[in-house]
């Protein structure tokens, strides 16, 4: 018998601390599979964020460093410039990447750093238990928008991938989701493509993944999947937002 599906080598056997149904675990596995498939586990350095995925270094079976909240792009820049032939990626939440880390995100993208950014957009601050994120939808009730997010007070959900489009340094920008097996497989393709771009030295790639956070959305898992499909995907349409390499996924 052959193992068709199972834990990739680039994952450790440590159990996740994520809530039931959380998308983080799925994306961790996708990254690990891609790294295995590309055969780069032994030359990969990952950067874990401050967010629910802060313990990601325990889950990946390759070198991983922590970074302070919002600064993974700067840390990645430091690593990649020193070791240009290694594979360097950041894994960041929407608070990390688009709130406190917005300047670092834009500038690493603009410099066209030859790194890959995996961006988990769950429209909420998961780890700190449910505050508004820059990507929270209008009207969304969070612990810091108890009356729903109102644009006048708290601004609009930021479309990060679209925002980065105008920067010449960005090579590949795509958005996926992990609400269904179909989307999971598509997301994996985008992630793989992003890493391939890095391996061929073509510059900055970012894959945004819409991800469910049932407890902080105050929803059951099925409800949260519906929310991803009905609400999130309307605001954040799936697909390739930019591809300078001209290839399609």
């Amino acid at each position: 018998m052959k193992k068709l599906f199972g834990k990739p080598e680039s994952l450790t056997t440590v159990n996740h601390k994520y809530c039931p149904g959380c998308g983080h675990g799925i994306v961790h596995r996708l990254i690990a599979e891609v790294i295995d498939e590309l055969g780069v586990r032994e030359k990969t350095i990952g950067i874990a964020p401050v967010g629910c995925a802060v313990f990601a270094y325990d889950y990946w079976n390759f070198d991983v460093t922590e970074a302070s909240h919002g600064r993974p792009p700067a840390v990645a820049t430091g690593i990649k410039r020193v070791l240009p032939d290694r594979v360097v990626f950041t894994y960041q939440g929407d608070g990390d990447l688009a709130a406190i880390g917005m300047a670092e995100t834009i500038h690493a993208a603009n410099r066209g750093e030859n790194i890959t950014v995996i961006f988990i957009n769950n429209a909420i601050y998961g780890m700190t238990t449910g505050q508004m994120a820059p990507t929270s939808l209008l009207g969304m009730k969070t612990t810091t928008t108890p009356f729903g997010r109102e644009a006048k007070i708290a601004g609009y959900p930021i479309k990060v991938s679209e925002l980065l489009v105008t920067l010449e340094g960005t090579t590949y920008l795509a958005r996926g989701a992990v609400d269904s097996a179909k989307h999971v497989l598509e997301a994996k393709k985008a992630i793989k493509k992003a890493f391939e771009i890095q391996l061929s030295g073509k510059g900055y790639s970012l894959v945004e993944i819409l991800s469910q956070c049932p407890p902080n959305w105050k929803m059951s898992v099925p409800e949260s999947l519906e929310y991803v499909r009905k609400e999130m995907m309307t605001q954040f349409p799936l697909g390739v937002i930019k591809d300078k390499t001209g290839m399609t996924v």
Binding site: Y57, S68, G78, V82
Partner: protein, 345 residues
């Protein structure tokens, strides 16, 4: 052969000769010449130079470059160094080596761009959060500006904690004859923590988050043990006139002012000496304690409202009078003023 060199350029060249592999900076007066010097020389040497988008980005690039095993550094001046405090605390927590240069200017706030020594507390008491220390070195000449990065890198690696060169706008801007002596660039300390891909070894992790019960406390005990070892082994200073009755204590540019004052006081027959801390963390408290029985008074001179004087007080612990004279806000003390203060004792 001697040559005229600017303090900031000397520091930059010293870092390059010491094998500095990656520099990340952001412009701010009066340290611009250092960033500018590195922008040319690092590229010439095919090493890493980035003008970061901010001081915050710069310190985190240093974090990354250090994780990747480079001798990494950043430089800034007072307001910019304030912005690096979180990053420095992270580096200390993750036990990463690295070099931060603070070319101090007048504060608080935007202040002005004159040389100053008012960031002493920030440097030695940990301006960032948590119980941590960085090794703090203070050059007092262009020659030392050149030689100190090597010392900083190697102490920093030996003890796996960031090092900070605490200098000021005067030393960075001045020129004086110096010699480009050969610099030791050998990497020191264990390197088995570096992340460069897990080929042929188990994956490594760098982190300062320790959530398991008791883990962070144990880590802090480990750090404190290390700090005590540094305190015991690495106190450095220069002592002029060991037999003096009045001992000036000053570092960096104010030590230079005091040097002139000592010369003049001695000419007048006064028994004045100078203790110049070279490390201000660890503070050279042992020599102060040794001096206590013989010294009638310590006079601490700083370009601040009085910060290092606390370390002198803590070391002396009431056994000898400690006096202070300083000028804050980017003003420079003169030798005449020091002599006048000596007269008041």
């Amino acid at each position: 052969m001697k040559q005229l060199m600017k303090g900031s350029a000397a520091l930059g060249e010293g870092a390059i000769q010491a094998g500095g592999g990656a520099y990340f900076g952001y412009p701010i007066t009066p340290q611009n010449e250092l960033t500018e010097y590195m922008s040319r020389r690092m590229l010439e040497e095919r090493r890493v130079f980035i003008q970061a988008e901010s001081e915050l980005a710069a310190i985190n690039m240093v974090f990354g470059a250090s994780v990747a095993g480079a001798r990494a550094m950043t430089s800034s001046s007072s307001p910019g160094v304030s912005l690096k405090q979180e990053g420095i605390s992270y580096m200390a927590g993750c036990e990463l080596p690295g070099l931060i240069v603070n070319v101090q200017r007048g504060g608080p706030g935007l202040g002005n761009i004159s040389g100053s020594q008012a960031d002493y507390f920030q440097a030695v008491r940990g301006g960032g959060h948590g119980d941590y220390q960085v090794i703090v070195l203070t050059p007092a000449s262009v020659q030392e500006m050149y030689e100190m990065p090597s010392m900083a890198f190697s102490l920093s690696e030996k003890y796996r904690t960031p090092a900070l060169i605490l200098t000021d706008g005067i030393l960075a801007q001045m020129q004086e004859p110096m010699e480009l002596v050969k610099i030791n660039a050998a990497r020191s300390g264990d390197q088995s923590w570096i992340l460069d891909g897990c080929k042929g070894r188990a994956p490594r992790k760098i982190r300062s988050l320790l959530m398991e019960e008791g883990a962070l406390e144990a880590h802090n005990r480990h750090l404190q043990k290390k700090y005590i070892e540094i305190k015991n082994k690495e106190q450095r200073y220069q002592l002029i006139n060991e037999q003096a009755e009045i001992m000036l204590v000053a570092y960096g540019v104010s030590a230079r002012v005091c040097y002139t004052a000592v010369q003049e006081a001695n000419r007048k027959g006064l028994k004045v000496g100078l203790l110049r801390p070279i490390t201000v963390w660890p503070f050279p408290e042992k020599i102060i304690q040794e001096l206590v029985p013989q010294v009638k008074a310590f006079l601490v001179i700083e370009l601040s409202a009085g910060q290092m004087v606390e370390d002198v007080n803590l070391a002396v612990n009431g056994k000898t009078p400690v006096y202070f004279y300083g000028r804050a806000g980017g003003a420079c003390v003169t030798p005449e003023e020091v002599i006048k203060e000596i007269g008041k004792i």
